[in-house]
Amino acid sequence: MAAGCTVNVWLLASNPPGSVRRNAQGCEVVKNEASIPKTLVLGIGNAWRGDDAVGLLVAQALRAYDLPDVTVMEASTVDPALIPLWQDFDRLILIDAVISDAAPGAVHWFDLSQTPLPTLVSSCSTHSLDLATLIELARTLHQLPPEVWLFGIEGRNLTSGRPVSAAVMMGLERCIEMIVERLRLAPQRQAH
């Protein structure tokens, strides 16, 4: 998938763990051993439910940066069909609204590469599988990229039809800065 495209559809790989990696069209993926890590930025949210839209807005803003080897996508719901979306990437950056006891607009960063999301933070999703569950399902099935980061922006107002609140928009800016900075500093991993 070319960087910069908006994706509301996704594709599920059918390869079991340990088999040859294939892309969504079923073609075998051949990688250079020392290639630059491919990063997928996935903004998640509901554009119609107030602060829940912030993950989508971060993704849209990052697309304008045109970062090298970074693909930006958006998803309007959490669904197992997201799993294949990140199959061919070395690093997955998820951005979603979260609710904890922090102030609206606070930005949380979690490295989920090895450990689950802390349970005190719950994703705002109202769908059947929340994001934390989906990540752990993918981990259990050996379908997660080696590096997984979650940027959670504290939301408060999830009213249907409302815009993202001002405090959360401040968090959006901080989140973008954090992602760009961490990508700049991140070690160049060997592709696996």
């Binding site: 599920l12 294949p84 059947s128 569950t133 399902l137």
Partner: protein, 432 residues
């Protein structure tokens, strides 16, 4: 003091239900005094949003009500509008609508069966735990689900909240060649699903049957998606335009969702079990055979066995999609022409969870004057509560955790989509 008959139990979250919700069961002296499925969040006012909007916007606005069954909302909306305009969508366009519905049934049923319901039967807290022990099962389920997602993505224009459906047909028709990969996956899915239906038949089911009144669409020739009369196993046989004469909705204090019942009769049951019981003879012989191989007869009154029925329906949807795609006559035009006029129109189609009824009043310019939407979960709410009453009483001696678990499982039999009926829900059981 906790005894067999006096206990207080509180559970704060009802997991693995689409949306969030609560149920409340009050037991005194071993007898169930009250059972309520509670829905807290205010109604979502979609019916009010629709007033003053063009008829043409109804499919896209109502598709937003549910991320799991948007096709059902679109289909009920367009059929209601087409009834007002006197337009019939026939031939290839009608087939493509069935194909789109196949996609939605496949993805919705696969999600519910294997991610939400199967862990109950196998004793896992969730799909993650189940995936650790049964990775191949989960991977197969995800692959089957993906075929459904792909159909909706290609024909619906995108996967979530599809946008390609319009009154009279579609905005755009995919070319035959675009379907080739999906056809191959469907062929794989047909074999895989046939095995998985057998697998569901081996699950342990509680003994539980109730004298339900099942309500579903029935068509002269087909297993129902978009069209048919509303029938029941107790003699109901009406056109969908008579829905509101027979089905009554009322507000109850404990829920912000409306409770539905059949006038002068009581609660009724919609969804896969109802469709199956009223339309077994409309399933193709191989699918009937798959049902029998899983231990089902032509009727099934145990809602816990709905997981088998969903499997049978998934197999049917895969098979039906293949039938349509093997022929796939590309229509001459993506939609049928019509003239806008005022009037009242009714649409009722079979969402994965059961009949979804829409009624619209349009003015002469096609502007929506009023709208009514009755989703399947609201129709099942009274039956779910009746199940909880009947289910809990003989099991009141069970340890609390086990009883709670089984009650949640009993609710999940209905695959309730609380986001359709409202939005959030939480769980609360009390024994006094």
């Amino acid at each position: 003091m906790n005894t067999l008959t006096t206990k207080t139990v509180r559970v704060e979250a009802l997991a693995r239900v689409e949306g969030e919700g609560a149920f409340y069961v009050k037991v005194r002296e071993g007898k169930v005094e009250d059972a309520q499925l509670r829905i807290y969040e205010p109604p979502r006012f979609f019916e009010a949003f629709l007033r003053g909007r063009s008829y043409a916007e109804a499919p896209d606005i109502t598709a937003r009500i549910c991320g799991i069954c948007p096709v059902a909302y679109q289909m009920s909306a367009v059929h209601a509008m087409e009834a007002i305009f006197g337009v019939r969508v026939e031939g290839p366009l009608r087939e493509l609508r069935r194909l789109l519905y196949c996609g939605e049934w496949i993805e919705s049923h696969a999600l519910h069966m294997f991610m939400l319901h199967a862990p109950d039967f196998l004793g896992y807290a969730d799909a993650i735990q189940m995936a650790a022990d049964h990775p191949d099962l989960v991977l197969q389920a995800l692959r089957i689900k993906k075929v459904g997602n792909d159909i909706v993505a290609l024909l619906g224009g995108r996967e979530i909240h599809p946008i390609n459906v319009r009154v009279g047909g579609f905005y755009h028709i995919p070319k035959r060649r675009e379907w080739s990969r999906i056809v191959e996956e469907l062929k794989w899915a047909r074999d895989a699903m046939a095995e998985l239906v057998k697998w569901t038949g081996l699950l342990p089911f509680p003994e539980f049957e109730q004298p339900y009144e099942f309500v579903a669409l029935r068509h002269p020739e087909e297993y129902p998606f978009n069209e048919g009369r509303l029938v029941s196993n107790r003699g109901l046989d009406i056109p969908i335009s008579a829905f509101e004469e027979f089905m009554v909705e009322e507000h109850l204090p404990h829920s912000t969702s409306l409770h539905a019942h059949i006038k002068d009769r009581g609660a009724y049951f919609v969804g896969p079990l109802a469709r199956y019981n009223l339309n077994f003879d409309r399933l193709s012989p191989p699918v009937q055979e798959a049902a029998r191989a899983a231990g089902l007869g032509p009727t099934c009154n145990n809602p816990f066995q709905s997981i088998i029925v969903r499997g049978v329906e998934t197999l049917y949807a895969i098979d039906e999609a293949l039938r349509i795609l093997e022929d796939y006559p590309e229509p001459d035009a993506p939609y049928v022409q019509y003239e806008v006029r005022g009037g009242v129109g009714h649409g009722c189609t079979e969402a994965p969870r059961g009949i979804l009824y829409h009624r619209y009043v349009l003015d002469d310019n096609g502007v929506i004057v009023s709208a009514r939407i009755t989703p399947p979960t609201a129709q099942n709410q009274a039956t779910i509560e009746a199940d909880l009453r009947a289910f809990v009483e003989p099991r009141v001696h069970l340890p609390l955790n086990e009883l709670t678990w089984q009650c949640e499982q009993a609710i999940r039999n209905y695959d309730p989509c609380i986001s359709c009926s409202t939005h959030f829900l939480r769980l609360n059981i009390e024994r006094v």
